[in-house]
């Protein structure tokens, strides 16, 4: 090896060592069993590198005898306010093991926010209006979101490494484990995952304003 060749080789090694850390991208494309986009599904992505996600203060309102929105995704440690914007009283409860709580009959916003300190799914109901159903998805994942109108969800600037992706929706029939995938981000090439439901979604509940069963 000539002196010049040796120098070139050193420069090559040095260049590789000082190259910026590669940031990865994962895109999920979720479809229903009939190949239509799977809209509004909750996506969580957990990895070895676990950046801290700051808790938030969220609002889940009650409008026209329905939770608005009917599903929110929050990091562990967050709080949620449950104002009642209807003219009638509501009485919100959860018997989900993740967070059991009750808000006695109220209008407006008389109660302090509810603290969600454990990961899991919390199903909300109203003890007066049975048709009202809502969900709080509490996650300890570093990355999370919901699929868009095209059934897609994308996360960028991911550190290289291995991740575990999972998908959930209140109307899906699949066991959650069947919609989980391990994925590795090895370089800055975007990784695209495709998930398709094996079973049709359940039909959504009827709006509470459509039918008021007195019984």
């Amino acid at each position: 090896m000539s002196r010049n060749q040796a120098l070139a080789a050193w420069l090559l090694v040095l260049g590789a060592a000082t190259r910026p850390v590669t940031a990865g991208t994962i895109t999920l494309q979720a479809t229903q069993s009939d190949a239509k986009p799977f809209v509004g599904a909750v996506v969580t992505l957990q990895g070895a590198a676990h950046p801290h996600v700051a808790p938030v203060n969220a609002i889940l309102d009650q409008i026209n005898l329905a939770f608005a929105p009917d599903l929110i995704v929050i990091p562990v440690g967050s709080t949620v306010e449950f104002p009642n914007s209807d003219s009638v009283s509501h009485q919100i409860y959860s018997f989900s093991p993740t967070k059991r709580f009750q808000l006695p009959l109220y209008h407006g916003q008389p109660y302090p926010p509810v603290h969600f300190d454990q990961a899991g799914i919390v199903t909300l109901g109203c003890n007066i209006h049975d048709q009202m159903v809502g969900y709080v998805f509490v996650t300890d994942a570093a990355y999370f979101g919901r699929t868009d109108a095209a059934g897609a969800w994308t996360v960028t600037n991911l550190p290289l490494g291995s991740y575990h992706l999972s998908l959930w929706h209140p109307l899906m029939r699949e066991a959650t484990a069947s919609l989980e995938r391990d994925v590795t981000v090895a370089d800055d090439e975007p990784v695209t995952l495709k998930l398709q439901l094996a079973h049709p979604l359940r039909r959504p509940p009827l709006p509470a304003t459509v039918r008021r069963d007195q019984y």
């Binding site: 026209n64 005898l65 209807d86 003219s87 009638v88 009283s89 009485q91 409860y93 018997f95 009750q102 006695p104 009959l105 109220y106 209008h107 407006g108 916003q109 008389p110 199903t123 109901g125 003890n127 007066i128 048709q131 159903v133 359940r202 039909r203 509940p205 009827l206 304003t209 459509v210 039918r211 008021r212 069963d213 007195q214 019984y215």
Partner: protein, 410 residues
């Protein structure tokens, strides 16, 4: 007047202090009708017609004036009162159709209990789901539910236990219901004397059906109790994703038929029935309902000491409805029959009916309904009492204009 002041006070308090949850939810409504009918004198006028309005009622009539309130008593108790004036004679001009306390503790681990104490409807009807036990589909109830409104009420206690599967990722909710009641010893007297009719008028608690002294009914009072025997019922309800409701019930008032004293208006009818129904609601505003009821009412025979007369009865209907925005178009077919055993044919009746209705909700306050109803029926008693032909076709057209206001109106 005092109760009105109390209600206004509570409403004002709610307006000033929106966080208070035990505010009174109240509702007032006025339902006026323009009626055209070729019907025979009705059940309420001592006749054997099968409609609510007869040929003498053409013109403007009161459909229903109603006041209702729901008063929370603490967090898990409610007091519910529903009062109506129907423009047709009853024991009192204004009467309560339902009045009860409801206990509704929070669900625990997917199980929920409900207890009702007072006077209310047992879980039979799948069409009368609107406020005041009215139908969102038609003005007139089916023959089956009209009879429930005329004669059946739980005046006692009911418990319901429900497994809320849909709150836990399952497709079904399942509930069982049991009731113990009194003051329904006279239930069945209208059926045995007049048979089925199609009407939305509900008998007020401790009220009367028809005019005192009129034949054949004589102003019957279904809500009586003098035999000290409580009635019971038990039922099951299964809901599939809130789209399909299946409901069955067995009812038995366990009355002592031998205590019947017609001359004193102390009717004692041993009435028992099974009912079943299914309601299916689709995504595009379609609703289909079918209900079936089969039972028998028995009382002391008039002319045979120690003997009994019985009237086995059956009614069923199918309703199909389509919602288009603020409009609802519905059609219903009813069939009914009352047999007569040990009464020389007295009270026997059979018939069928077609109902078509168009409902337009202008907003939360105004509702307009146009309904056409035709009943074809045969009644033994028509010939027996009035010498008329037993077979009759009656047609009734109604235009209803309803205005409602209150805290529960939205």
């Amino acid at each position: 007047m005092k109760s009105l002041r109390t209600l206004l006070f509570l409403s004002l308090l709610c307006a000033l202090a929106p966080g208070i949850g035990w505010c009174t939810d109240w509702e007032l409504s006025a339902d006026m009708r323009v009626v055209n009918s070729d019907g025979q004198p009705t059940l309420f006028d001592g006749g054997l017609g099968t409609l609510r309005f007869d040929r003498d009622d053409d013109g403007v009539q009161v459909g229903r004036l109603r006041a209702a309130l729901n008063q929370p008593l603490g967090n898990v108790w409610d007091l519910k009162l529903d009062a109506s004036y129907w423009g047709q004679d009853d024991a009192h001009p204004v009467g309560l159709t339902e009045a009860y306390l409801e206990y509704r503790p929070y669900p625990i681990d997917g199980w929920r209990a409900r207890v009702r104490i007072g006077a209310f409807y047992p879980p039979v009807s799948l069409e009368n789901t609107d406020s005041g036990w009215s139908s969102p589909y038609t003005l007139s109830s089916s023959a089956l539910d009209s009879w429930i409104g005329e004669e059946i009420r739980t005046i006692g206690l009911e418990t319901q236990l429900e497994w809320l599967g849909t709150r836990m990722g399952h497709d079904f909710d399942v509930g069982v219901t049991g009731g113990v009641f009194g003051w329904n010893q006279g239930a069945g007297v209208v059926l045995a004397n007049n048979g089925f009719s199609l009407t939305d008028r509900q008998t007020a608690l401790f009220g009367r059906v028809g005019q005192l002294g009129d034949e054949p009914l004589g102003g019957a009072e279904p809500f009586l109790q003098f035999d000290h025997r409580e009635g019971v019922y038990g039922g099951l309800e299964v809901r599939y994703l809130d789209r399909v409701v299946l409901r069955v019930l067995h009812y038995d008032n366990r009355a002592s038929p031998q205590l019947d004293e017609v001359s004193d208006q102390n009717y004692s009818q041993h009435t028992r029935f099974n009912s079943a129904g299914v309601r299916i609601e689709g995504d595009r505003g379609w609703t289909a309902i079918a209900q079936w009821l089969d039972g028998e009412t028995t009382t002391a025979a008039d002319d045979v000491p120690g003997g009994l007369s019985s009237w086995p009865f059956r009614a069923e209907y199918a309703l199909l409805s389509k919602r288009f925005g603020r409009s609802t178009l519905s059609a219903r077919y009813d069939r009914f029959v009352v047999d007569s055993i040990g009464a020389d044919g007295y009270g026997a009746q059979s018939g069928h009916a077609w109902t078509a209705a168009y409902v337009f909700n202008t907003d939360a306050h105004w509702r307009f309904t146009l309904e056409w109803l035709q009943v074809v029926s045969s009644s033994f008693s028509r010939e027996d009492f009035f010498g008329g032909p037993p077979l009759l076709t009656e047609t009734q057209m109604q235009l209803a204009i309803r205005y409602a206001l209150g805290s529960a109106i939205r």
